[in-house]
Every structure is written in C-alpha cells, then in structure tokens.
C-alpha cells in the first residue's frame, strides 16, 4: 500500500511536469511584438476595436497607440487580473481574444485549428489488426480498403466509425478482439496505405474467410473479385 502511494505520487509529479511543459511549449515558438505607446498599425486598430467594444476605450479606432489607448489597456488589464503596465503583450493579446498576434509565424499552423487523420489511422488499424492479423500485408491493406470503400458506397454508413461499429458488420468488433489492439506496426502501416488510396481489393465491399463461413450464409451470393491469403474479397 505504502509503495503504491509512493508510485502514485511519482505519477502525479510526472503528470504535473508534463502539464507544465505543455503549457510552456507554445511560449517558446511564439514571436510577438508587444504594442506600447507609440506603436501603430492593424494590430493597434484591432486592440482599440476590442477595447471600444467592451467600453474600455472611447477614442477613435485609428491604429495609433496614444495615451488614451494606454489608459484603456491599463484599465482592461486591471479588470482581468493582468499586470497593468499599459503594454499589450502575449497575455493581454490572449485576454483580448486576439490570438492571431500571438501565433504569427506565417506558415506554422496555430493551435486552434490543426487537424490530422491520426484518429482514422488508429480506428482502421484496429479493425485491420482484429480482422486480418495473420494475413499477408497486402491482405491487410485490402481489408482496410474494403472498409473505406464502404464509406464511399451508398449502401453503408458514410463515416469510418459508422462503418466499423455498424450493427453486426465486423465479428471482431462484436466479440471484443478489436479492443486487444496494441499499435500493431504492420496494421498501422496497412491502414496508412489504405487511407492513402491503395486498394488491393479492387473496390470490394465484403471480405470473408471461405473456410469459416457456413454453407447457407448469405455471403456466398456475393461475387468474388480477388482472393488474398485466407480472405475472399467481393461485391
């Protein structure tokens, strides 16, 4: 018990460090020019606009940082728990909601709007792993491609999650094998290839293992397009 507590403390400490690092990280990459009395330009205009909108500033929105603007900034900073120095730096920009001036290095993607397809890669890799772990690589890509073909086909749900979790569509999802996935490298690679457009199944919408499907199954009515490893692929 004592030991566990100790472990927990360690864990907490590590979590705290990670948290602090994540919070600090953006500060390193950012390059901001603080605005102060004497500054001018579009950024000053935007600041004045915001301050006016919130009744801190009554002067004209002219893009020139004068004493009126400085007083308004100080007032805003005081009300928002910031150091009232009258200089618009990172924290004041953020408090004003002007994040574009914080992350202004031109070609980096700012934090609020990044996106990638890692979620899809993982979801697809899980399904490939659970359905085709022992199959040759090309058979893994083909299983991934079938699931993606379903998304594009009008007889199936139109999202990847919809297709994978569909009612009784995948046995491995129903029986839980799907959840034993542990970043199986070849499955992740196959998922990436399938998402990049490789389709060794040639437009198939179904795959099945002929040795395991009962003789009266509906799947036998499907037309086989290609056989890879133990799987038949078809429409």
């Amino acid at each position: 018990m004592q030991k566990m507590l100790k472990n927990k403390k360690w864990l907490l400490a590590i979590c705290a460090i990670i948290l602090i690092l994540t919070c600090l990280a953006p500060a390193f990459g950012a390059s901001i020019t603080p605005l102060k009395q004497g500054s001018s330009g579009q950024a000053v205009k935007d600041v004045q606009q915001k301050l006016k909108q919130w009744d801190y500033y009554s002067g004209t929105v002219d893009g020139i940082f004068g004493s009126g603007t400085k007083e308004a900034v100080k007032k805003f900073q005081r009300n928002n728990g910031l150091t009232p120095d009258g200089i618009v730096g990172k924290s004041t920009f953020e408090a004003l909601g002007l994040n574009q001036y914080v992350n202004n290095s031109s070609n980096s993607v700012s934090g609020t709007n990044t996106t990638n397809n890692n979620d899809e890669v993982t979801l697809l890799a899980k399904a490939i792993f659970a359905e085709a772990e022992g199959e040759p690589y090309i058979g893994k890509v083909a299983v991934g491609a079938v699931l993606l073909n379903r998304v594009k086909n009008n007889q199936f749900p139109n999202t990847l999650a919809g297709v994978i979790y569909q009612g009784n569509a995948l046995e491995s999802v129903s029986n839980g094998r799907f959840y034993t996935f542990d970043n199986h490298e070849e499955s992740v690679k196959a998922a990436k290839d399938a998402l990049a457009g490789w389709d060794p199944s040639y437009g198939s919408l179904y795959f099945w293992n002929p040795a395991k499907v009962p003789a009266n199954s509906w799947i036998w009515t499907r037309q086989v397009i290609v056989t890879i490893g133990n799987h038949s692929f078809g429409k």
């Binding site: 070609n107 090309i138 594009k152 009008n154 199936f156 139109n158 009784n168 490789w198 509906w218 290609v226």
Partner: protein, 454 residues
C-alpha cells in the same frame, strides 16, 4: 475430519455463490447498458423518420427558393442522423443495404439540390417529381418503423432478445415469432426500398458513381505472357537479384479496369512486391512493396527526382508534385498531370520513395487511368482579375493558377486556384473560370513531415 471438510465445502460453495451473484449483477448491468444504447438509437431513428417524412412533405409544397433550400438542408441532416442510428442496431447488413442506400441518397440528393438553389438554379419540374417519389418512400419507411415500434412495445421486445436470438438459433415458438417479426419487418422494408427510380445527379452517392468507366484507357488487350514481359522490365528490379514471378491472376474481370495481379519475390522473401497491370494497354495500376525503411539519407529533391525518373519510364511525362508527406523514412508523393499549363487534379498518381536508397516502393495510377482524357481547353470566360474580385476581400492572395478540379460526381470544372492566407492559416480557394462560382475551399495544413489539405 468430515466436519472440517464440510465446513471447507460450505465456504467454497458460499464463495462460488457470491461470485456467481456478483457476475450476475455485472451481467445485468452490462445488458442494460447495451440495451439502452440500442433503444436510444432505435427511438432516435423513429423520431428521425417522422421528421424526414414531414420535411419531405413540406418540401413538396414549398415554392420559394429560400424555403426549399432551408427544408432540403434539414432533410440532409435528418437523413444522416437516421442512417447513423439505423447502423447502430444489431441487424445484418443485407437486411438494411437498400434502406441505407435510400437514406444516403436522399440526404446527398437534398444536399446537391440545396447547392444548386444557392447558385441560382431553382428546383426544376423533374427534380420536384423526383423529390415527390422520395417523399412517398420516406413516408412508407416511417410508417413501417412506427409499426415496429408499436409491436416492440406491445410484445415487450428488447434488443437483447434480438442479440441472443442471433447468437443461438430460436427454439420455442415465441422466440421464433420474435425473430420473424424483426426479419420480416426489416427485410420487407429493404425490398420496398428498391422501388424508387434510379437517382442520377451530381453527387457522390448518385447511382452512376457505381459504374464509372475509364474515360480514355487505350491500348490492345495484353496476354499473361505480355504482362510478365512488361513487369520483368520494371526499373525497380535489380540486375543482380534472381526474382521469382508468380503466375498472373486475372482480377476484376467486369470491373472498370480489369488487371493481372503478379507477386514478385526477390531475396527478401518476407517483403514481396505486389504488382497489378491493366489488361487494356498493359499499364501498371498498383505496385506495393512493404519493405521497412530504417534510414533517411536522401533529400526530398533527390527523392522527387527518383520518382520522376520512374514516372518517365512508365510513360508519364508532364506530372508535377502536388502533395508530399514524409513518414517512417518513406516519402509519399502525389503528382497531377500538367496539361497545357493547367493542373488536372483528377489525373493523379501516387509514388512512394524509400529514403534510404531512393527505391520506388509504391505506385498507384488508378485515378489517372480512370480520369485521363484528351481535353479541349477553351480560353476561360473570366480573367484572373475578374475571378479575384469574387474572393473574400479579407484574404491575402499569395499565388494563383488554372486547374481542372474534379467535383463530387467526378466531373471536371475549370477553376482559378487561389493560394490564400487568412488569420495566419493557408487556404486554397477555387473560383469557376466560366461562371465565377466559388466551387470549393480547402484548408492547407503543414508540419515538419509535409503538407496536406482538407
């Protein structure tokens, strides 16, 4: 002695009973969790179908563009929700395929028409007639699902029954009637769903998308021997390695691009090269080598040069890089055909280069083979300046070029592509060069490994 034994046995029995009871509790809890998510999906579906039926009925009589587009936008959303809820239910796909197709199509069709109205093309008489048909089907579907809901309530049926019925074949008479209720309802619904006319429209789920044919795939039909001859000359093969070529297998004989599939095995037996070659014209359609790459000692420029060299050997002369992504020491490249200085995005091929030795690990040209054709380019009606005037005045334009943009239904539209900045983010904006419509907007994402658009 016996006393001790009997005490031990009693304790064991009690423990087992306790364990059994706790398992039973867990089971009850899990069952109701599962039942709840099925029930919630089913009742949401009942509700979605009610709304869908109502919306399509209203849309039939609506006569202003504003009202029609508002209703069609809602039809789209509701059909999507219905589809999502339907696909959660524990039913076999073949009892649902047509129903799902119907929901996919009605949503996609509504979306396409909505877009048409937005660019100033009100619903035509034919489109209205088509929508009336879809509306009839919707109301039929709604009634059937409402009936099923009533029967479920009356007979106190749960989805749990449905699931266990699927797992074990039904035994008692009552179980049989339950199973047949589910099956007959969804099966007959599914059959009825094929009774609406084929829908051809400019959308991704239109019926014509299933039977797309290559626009201009030319050449003689080749034999298996000729296929092998072509493949033996592939520049990815090394002179000093003895390769083993599998017998070509014919694949997809009635698909759009029938092929011969061949597996090449070299010294690394675990990593064969899979090659598919089109029967018509003997073009390489797909090539994939799964060899792991552990080192990166090649610049992106050199890798692109290697890719271009390979493309040239396969008869692709005018391709330009449109996308790069570096992953696991492999450079993924996408090329588009540059025809008369116009980027034709539909004519695209993909190449993968190993960054350890510059070997071509992957190649894919199906899109190119399906889409490529001789195009007649006419002078665009809009000048670049006129097209620029259609843009949001707040974006900063960095560059522009003429492109052929494939739309959702595979047709090509001549557009000006404006590479623009807004709020520190990079966007590609496409303005139709004929009528000035804003055809599409893509956001560009960049990181250390490459850039991609969504």
């Amino acid at each position: 002695m016996y006393k001790k034994l009997s005490i031990a046995l009693t304790i064991a029995l009690l423990l087992t009973a306790g364990w059994g009871y706790s398992q039973y509790r867990v089971n009850v809890l899990n069952n109701s969790l599962m039942e709840n998510s099925y029930q919630s999906a089913f009742y949401n579906l009942v509700n979605d179908m009610k709304s869908l039926s109502l919306l399509t009925a209203k849309n039939n009589i609506a006569y202003s563009d504003a009202q029609n587009s508002r209703l069609l936008a809602e039809v789209r959303m509701t059909a999507n929700n219905a589809l999502e809820n339907l696909s959660v239910l524990p039913l076999q796909h073949y009892t649902l395929s047509r129903t799902e197709k119907f929901l996919n199509q009605i949503g996609d069709y509504a979306n396409t028409l909505c877009g048409e109205i937005a660019i100033g093309n009100p619903l035509t008489r034919e489109q209205r007639k088509g929508l009336e048909e879809l509306s009839k089907q919707t109301s039929y579907l709604q009634q059937e699902i409402a009936k099923l809901e009533e029967q479920m309530t009356e007979q106190k049926l749960s989805f749990r029954d449905k699931v266990s019925l699927l797992a074990n074949s039904p035994k008692s008479g009552q179980e049989k009637s339950q199973k047949s209720l589910w099956n007959t309802t969804f099966t007959s619904m599914n059959q009825q769903m094929s009774d609406y006319p084929t829908l051809i429209y400019a959308g991704a789920y239109s019926d014509h998308m299933e039977n797309l044919q290559p626009k201009q795939l030319e050449g003689e039909e080749i034999s298996k021997e000729e296929a092998l001859e072509i493949i033996e000359k592939l520049p990815v093969l090394h002179d000093d390695i003895q390769y083993d070529f599998s017998d070509p297998i014919e694949v997809g004989t009635d698909s759009a691009v029938p092929i011969y599939s061949i597996i090449i095995t070299g010294t690394e037996k675990d990593y064969p090269i899979n090659v598919d070659i089109s029967k018509t014209g003997g073009k390489i359609v797909t090539m994939l080598n799964n060899r792991p790459v552990t080192e990166n000692n090649m610049s992106q420029e050199d890798a692109i040069a290697r890719a271009k060299e390979f493309l040239k050997s396969q008869g692709y002369e005018n391709l330009e890089v449109t996308y790069t992504l570096k992953e696991d020491n492999i450079l993924q490249l996408e090329f588009a055909n540059k025809d008369n200085d116009i980027y034709c995005y539909g004519d695209r091929v993909k190449v993968k280069i190993a960054l350890d030795n510059g070997e071509v690990l992957g190649f894919e040209s199906k899109d190119f083979l399906m889409n490529h054709c001789d195009r007649k380019f006419e002078k665009p009606k809009l000048s670049e300046t006129e097209a620029k005037a259609k843009l949001n005045p707040n974006v900063q334009i960095e560059s522009s070029r003429l492109v052929m943009l494939p739309n959702a239904s595979g047709e090509e539209v001549l557009c000006y592509e404006f590479n623009s900045q807004y709020n520190g983010q990079n966007y590609l904006i496409y303005i139709n060069a004929e009528n000035g419509n804003e055809e599409d907007i893509l956001q560009v994402f960049t990181d250390d490994n490459g850039s991609w658009t969504l």
